[in-house]
């Protein structure tokens, strides 16, 4: 579908007509462009969702999320809990790897035990509840965990849970595999040119059936304006992270649309309540929450891309109280009143706003608008932004926020527990904000051992309520990116940030 050069098409048509005596056949090619390259195909050794977005086309999981974010059978056809700490999976029969060998339970054991048991791989901490993958027979396994693990299915449907062929990895090693991978997915890797392109071919023997495309090309184009240029000149069919200011240009081209692409990332303000900070007063924190007009922030900074939230909840996550989604508190008059009650007249309270520059789209602008909104209720602000790694090493990791700090958190386990568990006393969030709440800690710990989904969701929801009411972390909005999709491709992005191209159809 890429570059439709009239001259080349004509030549191609003449050539094809000569070769086939009139029957015209053209390769169906789909080209995707992203700003980053894959680090390789060692699926256990990266933690980037944009990389996973491409890998899903090459490797299958046991269970996979559908467009609605619901878990669906993939390489496992069904599963059941056999005890509090064990789950049985029946594997799909007749699944072939790209090299023609058949997938067996041994491959599954091999693929899942590496992140679970090898602390040296980057994905280990997301799999370390798994103690063993027991092979029952060629098409049945039991995953044993170190206790009840209510989010086991979340773990094995994300980064690092692709199934790879044991025999091939044994032969070439992980280094070799990372260069020339083999999976069971609908596309197989033919060639990888670093920082340039990954060339994939449709895998005709794929268990879902052959994909609609002969070739899938993933191009690395770091510069956003160049990505847009390729999209509107027909050079690529799908381009991620289109700047919001280019939206009209893409729509106006007539050959592509700029489609909102919601992410799991939520922009948040962390309030340091430690020591003698004025933020130790709950009234001051509530005033800040009430002073921020989340919707106006979204409209001003991102041209309306994003959804206001009161907690780190987004569609597609399990066990999250969605009441906090698409809502916000804004009452500047009450904010002024609360500040007065706390003993601060107009412009008597001074606060610093810290944040990274260039880590997230429009991060500095976000802080600037927040500062304006705080000024409007009589809070004096000073903005300090740093390049990401300086911010990370001087402010974020050492837990030395001076006032208020901006961060964007995604949710790599796609579950509510992961969104709040680090607010427990002594954990990362609490070390930054200074907030500790025994009841909250108890709820989180109970939820970690509760297998019943409803009971667990209630516990997590109650924990969310306490956390949100503390106003120690103020949630601003869910980040929505723009993805450019050519009018010649029928495909809609899913809520889990994946570029699942098996669903894409030519049109």
């Amino acid at each position: 579908m890429s570059r439709l050069n009239p001259k080349r098409m004509l030549l191609g048509a003449v050539f094809a007509a000569l070769m086939t005596g009139g029957a015209l056949a053209q390769d169906r090619e789909l080209v995707i462009a992203q700003g980053i390259d894959t680090p390789g195909f060692d699926i256990h050794n990266h933690s980037t969702s944009a990389v996973e977005a491409i890998h899903v086309n090459i490797f299958d999981y046991l269970v996979m999320r559908d467009q609605a974010g619901e878990l669906q059978p993939a390489l496992a056809t069904d599963w059941e809990q056999v005890s509090d700490s064990a789950m049985r999976f029946h594997l799909r029969e007749g699944v072939l790897f790209h090299d023609g060998t058949t997938m067996t339970a041994e491959d599954v054991k091999f693929s899942l035990e590496r992140p679970a048991l090898d602390p040296a791989v980057l994905q280990h901490s997301f799999y370390d509840t798994i103690t063993e993958v027991e092979v029952v027979n060629d098409h049945e396994i039991i995953i044993h965990t170190d206790g009840p693990d209510p989010i086991l299915l979340n773990r094995i449907s994300r980064i690092g849970s692709g199934i790879v062929p044991k025999a091939y990895v044994d032969e070439v090693g992980w280094e070799g595999f990372s260069q020339k991978p083999i999976g069971t997915g609908p596309f197989k890797v033919v060639e990888w040119l670093r920082d340039d392109r990954i060339i994939m071919e449709g895998f005709d023997e794929h268990w879902r059936g052959a994909p609609a495309w002969d070739r899938l090309i993933h191009r690395t184009i770091p510069e956003a304006s160049t990505r847009v240029g390729e999209l509107i000149s027909g050079g690529v069919d799908i381009a991620t992270n289109i700047p919001s200011q280019d939206r009209d240009r893409v729509e106006g081209s007539g050959i592509a649309h700029a489609v909102p692409w919601p992410s799991f990332r939520v922009m948040q303000l962390f309030l340091n309540t430690k020591d003698d900070s004025p933020l130790a007063d709950p009234k001051v924190r509530e005033a800040i929450d009430l002073a921020i007009d989340n919707q106006m922030l979204i409209d001003t900074v991102t041209n309306g891309l994003g959804t206001p939230v009161r907690a780190a909840v987004t569609p597609g996550l399990s066990a999250v109280p969605m009441a906090y989604y698409d809502t916000y508190n804004f009452d500047p008059e009450r904010a002024v009143q609360l500040l007065e009650e706390a003993g601060y007249g107009p412009n008597e309270l001074q606060l610093k706003l810290q944040g990274p520059a260039g880590r997230y789209p429009l991060d500095v602008e976000t802080l600037e608008i927040v500062a304006v909104m705080l000024n409007a209720v009589g809070i004096q602000t000073e903005i300090e932004t740093l390049e990401w790694s300086a911010y990370e090493s001087r402010v974020w990791t050492p837990n030395t926020i001076d006032g208020i700090a901006l961060i964007g958190h995604a949710n790599s386990l796609q579950d509510g527990y992961h969104a709040v568990q680090r607010a427990r006393c002594g954990f990362e969030f609490s070390l930054k904000t200074g907030w500790c709440n025994e009841e909250f800690d108890k709820l989180i710990e109970q939820s970690a051992a509760t297998v019943d989904p409803e009971e667990r969701a209630q516990q997590i929801s109650d924990a969310f309520d306490l956390f949100v009411a503390s106003n120690t972390v103020l949630h601003l909005f869910q980040v929505e990116n723009l993805i450019g999709v050519s009018t010649s491709v029928d495909w809609s992005p899913s809520p889990d940030e994946q570029l699942w191209m098996y669903d894409a159809q030519p049109q």
Partner: protein
């Protein structure tokens, strides 16, 4: 001459040593890669664990000594951005793309600057001179980032004559070559123009004119030949700079050369790759300047190296 060459090569050793130390320190001071690798989602425990596994928790001097002892054995370390591939291999595989772009940029620069400078010098103080001088200042003054995007807009998108980006399609090197060559053409035109003018004012040219030689013969046989030395020197040194990668141009055109590699490596704090690129660049620059100096003495016997 041989002594001179040996002395120059020996002089490179302390320079290279200084380069490694500087790069090593700057990279460590500006932050470490662990949080970038793990993302905001990581727990403090994960960060500490990975930092230890990568040896980044050791004192700086211990890290530097271990880095240097590996380097002396030819081991540049492994890339963290590219799943532990050898850093040197990751860098070397980019050389052909960078060489191709550098060649194109040089070609553009020479094809533009040579005639432009001659025209400007020949019609000094007249309209062709003003036009050539204006264009050469423009070439130098335009940010290559902006010029690159303009080229893409006009030739890639509006006219669809050339590929917008990447390396694989025929003609893909033309736009980045133009973007990169334009400013070099500006420098070279101005340089050659002034050295042509200098030579044209000398006595032997006046003699040649008085003898009634054809102006074309005077320009090409006498003036150009005597002005070309500084032109060639700058081309030589610019070639070295181009081989170190054109960061902005490669980024704009998604050209998979060394410039794109190094900017991505810096963003990811891929220390081994950044170090390898800078050490190789330093070697290329020093070797080129040595070669230029040697060629100098061959072209112009008045220059002697004792």
């Amino acid at each position: 001459m041989t002594n001179y060459i040996i002395r120059r090569i020996l002089q490179m050793i302390p320079v290279l040593f200084g380069v490694t130390l500087l790069v090593f320190l700057l990279l460590r001071v500006s932050g470490d890669p662990v949080q970038l690798m793990l993302g905001e989602d990581a727990t403090a425990e994960q960060v500490a664990q990975l930092r230890a596994a990568m040896g980044l928790d050791r004192p700086l001097h211990v890290q530097y000594i271990s880095y240097m002892s590996d380097l002396l054995r030819g081991d540049f370390g492994t890339s963290i951005r590219y799943n532990n591939q050898p850093a040197l291999q990751v860098v070397l595989e980019r050389l052909p793309a960078t060489a191709q772009l550098a060649g194109m940029a040089l070609l553009v620069a020479i094809v533009i600057s040579l005639p432009a400078a001659i025209i400007a010098a020949y019609w000094r103080g007249r309209i062709p001179d003003y036009i050539a001088s204006f264009l050469s200042v423009l070439g130098q003054a335009m940010p290559s980032f902006w010029f690159g995007i303009m080229l893409i807009l006009v030739f890639g998108i509006t006219l669809s004559w050339l590929p917008v980006s990447g390396q694989d399609q025929p003609g893909a090197v033309i736009l980045p070559g133009l973007a990169l060559g334009a400013s070099l053409a500006g420098v070279l035109t101005r340089l050659l123009r002034s050295s042509l003018l200098e030579v044209m004012n000398q006595d032997f040219i006046r003699t040649a004119r008085a003898k009634g030689l054809h102006p074309r013969t005077i320009i090409f046989r006498h003036v150009l030949r005597n002005s070309i030395l500084s032109y060639l020197t700058v081309i030589g040194l610019e070639t070295a700079a181009l081989m170190a990668g054109a960061v902005v141009t490669e980024q704009v055109f998604a050209w998979p050369g060394i410039g794109l590699l190094v900017i991505q490596a810096i963003n990811f704090r891929d220390m081994a790759v950044v170090q390898a690129v800078i050490i190789l660049s330093a070697i290329i620059v020093m070797m080129t300047s040595l070669i230029v100096d040697i060629l100098y003495s061959l072209i112009d016997p008045r220059i002697q190296h004792g």
